[in-house]
């Protein structure tokens, strides 16, 4: 191992390996049948009703998978929500429009929607131009989508994935035509805008949990449990570390100083 491990990375490797192991073990246990209870997400509970209302009013459903490419995990998480949504819209006999600003996302989204409509037995309804590439430029993209929203007046706008400044422009555009808006993003910066302008919002990691919750896939549910275990471990380390650091500073005793240095060594950045 000497000479192989890059200096200063052993602690990142240790923490990373622990996190991955917890998640992997949880996934394996879930796939073997362990029950994983997941709380309900109000934005997802509202989805069925919102789709039904939009289709009943003869209004299309819009889905925007964020403004980044497939290499962004939030886009992958958004596409995991698109499949069950497309199926719901197909079963209701509605029209789903998915504007994208990356060509690879467009390709994937088109195949997802086509399969979902076929699986729902409504392959006759589906048209490939319901998934369209608009522009790589995020502001050009939002200008076009807002124009389409103003003209087509969708009944439901679902905004999932990574957003930059276009989140508020999209959300206000949807609000203006009276659409129900369900959003979800792990971009902490854009959460306040979506919370202020949308009806329901998935916060942070709830976006990653959304696909698991909608489809009930064992592997995804297992990894949700793994994430929760890691969060518990992180919280425990925070409390323990704060306590140890306080005791080390107050008492100056050697055992506490040693423990404090150990915590700092394991959790230092880089």
């Amino acid at each position: 191992m000497n000479g192989w491990l890059a200096p200063g990375t052993w602690n990142v490797a240790l923490v990373g390996a622990t996190v991955c192991a917890l998640i992997a073990v949880s996934v394996v246990r879930a796939r073997r049948g362990a029950h994983v209870p997941v709380r309900s997400f109000p934005p997802l509970l509202a989805l069925d009703r919102a789709v039904a209302d939009a289709v009943a009013q003869g209004r299309p459903v819009y889905f925007v998978a964020g403004s980044q490419d497939l290499d962004n995990m939030q886009t992958v998480a958004a596409l995991a929500v698109l499949r069950p949504l497309a199926r719901k819209v197909a079963e209701a006999g509605g029209r789903l429009f998915v504007p994208t600003n990356r060509s690879l996302v467009m390709d994937n989204a088109r195949e997802i929607c086509r399969r979902a409509y076929d699986d729902a037995g409504r392959g006759d309804l589906w048209r490939d131009d319901w998934v369209a590439y608009i522009s790589d430029d995020h502001l050009g993209f939002v200008a076009r989508v807002d124009g389409l929203i103003a003209r087509e007046r969708p009944g439901l706008c679902v905004l999932m994935g990574f957003f930059a400044s276009e989140s508020l422009l999209l959300a206000e555009g949807g609000h203006q035509v009276g659409a129900v808006q369900i959003a979800g993003t792990a971009s902490a910066v854009q959460l306040p805008f979506l919370v202020a302008s949308c009806d329901h919002v998935l916060l942070g990691e709830e976006l990653f949990a959304a696909g698991a919750s909608l489809e009930g896939d064992a592997a995804r549910l297992g990894s949700l449990r793994g994430q929760d275990l890691c969060k518990l471990a992180a919280a425990a380390c925070l409390v323990a570390g704060s306590l140890v650091a306080t005791l080390a500073d107050v008492t100056g005793a050697q055992p506490w100083l040693f423990l404090r240095d150990a915590f700092l060594n394991v959790f230092r950045a880089g």
Partner: protein, 291 residues
């Protein structure tokens, strides 16, 4: 009285948003035309950036990454201008680069607006160099850690980096005296922190839009030594620069000038928020008093 409260509350609740747009536009335009502005002072979050540049050893190069597009230029360009002026006033060569495709144009604008006009005696390649944009985002930062020439064999004019006096002694990112990322999104300051600052412990500072500021405060002060956020951050830096260097031309303080209209806009928004809550109070009063 009840009816009146209810009517006013109803009017406030259903206020057409175009009235808000109109009042905001009128107030901001009036503030812009009147030229009103209030001088500012650097807070404890911005001052360390200024102090770092002031205390760098003579001739230490500074890397300035302009990671934004024209939409964020109003907030971030004043920061780029002020940092450029500060670096040139204190004799530190600047190396420009960008993680954004529109970065080359952003760099050109700083060169034309600040260097060509305020520092005509500055010599390209000696006092500043532009490496321009390269695709890759965090992968680019990763590659540049050990060697700039891994992805930038030449600067934008085609000159090999080994022949650039401004980069003498600079092999990788760790050889800069300071790295500043002016960031509007992704890739940006966060990637600089994760892939450069945290890994090779190089002094790193940042500038960001107002929207992005909350996500960067957790990194201050351990991973970034300072943070300029939004036009206010730029105005604070200009204030520090004007106080420390009287030769910094008072006319060229776009951020300080912009704080007038910004103050007006904030006050209008506060007024409308209070108005909206007044409507809420009136509605509750009307309900309580109704038979």
């Amino acid at each position: 009285m009840n009816d009146r409260c209810a009517r006013i509350a109803s009017w406030l609740e259903t206020l057409d948003r175009r009235w808000i747009f109109l009042v905001l536009a009128v107030v901001v335009v009036a503030a812009l035309l009147s030229g009103v502005s209030t001088p500012d002072r650097a807070t404890s979050v911005v001052q360390p950036i200024y102090d770092r540049i002031e205390n760098l050893p003579a001739g230490s190069p500074i890397l300035l990454s302009l990671d934004y597009s024209p939409s964020s230029a109003p907030e971030l360009e004043p920061m780029a201008d002020a940092l450029t002026q500060h670096a040139l006033l204190t004799g530190h060569p600047i190396c420009y680069m960008s993680l954004y495709p529109t970065g080359n144009n952003m760099i050109s604008r700083v060169e034309e607006r600040v260097i060509a006009r305020e520092f005509p005696q500055a010599v390209p390649a000696r006092d500043w160099v532009s490496l321009g944009f390269q695709v890759g985002g965090e992968m680019l930062i990763n590659s540049l850690r050990d060697s700039l020439t891994a992805r930038y064999p030449t600067d934008v004019t085609g000159r090999p980096l080994r022949d650039v006096p401004a980069l003498r002694g600079v092999r990788g990112l760790g050889d800069f005296g300071l790295i500043v990322s002016l960031s509007a999104g992704q890739p940006g300051l966060k990637e600089w922190i994760l892939y450069a600052g945290d890994v090779i412990d190089v002094p790193l500072a940042g500038g960001c839009t107002g929207v992005g500021a909350p996500q960067f405060f957790p990194y201050y002060p351990l991973q970034i030594l300072g943070l300029m956020s939004a036009l206010k951050g730029a105005a604070e830096y200009e204030a520090a620069l004007a106080r420390g260097h009287p030769e910094f031309k008072a006319a060229n303080q776009p951020a300080t000038r912009g704080m007038g209209p910004q103050s007006a806009a904030h006050l209008v928004i506060v007024a409308f928020i209070l108005l909206g809550n007044a409507g809420l109070v009136l509605r509750r009063l009307a309900r309580r008093r109704s038979p």
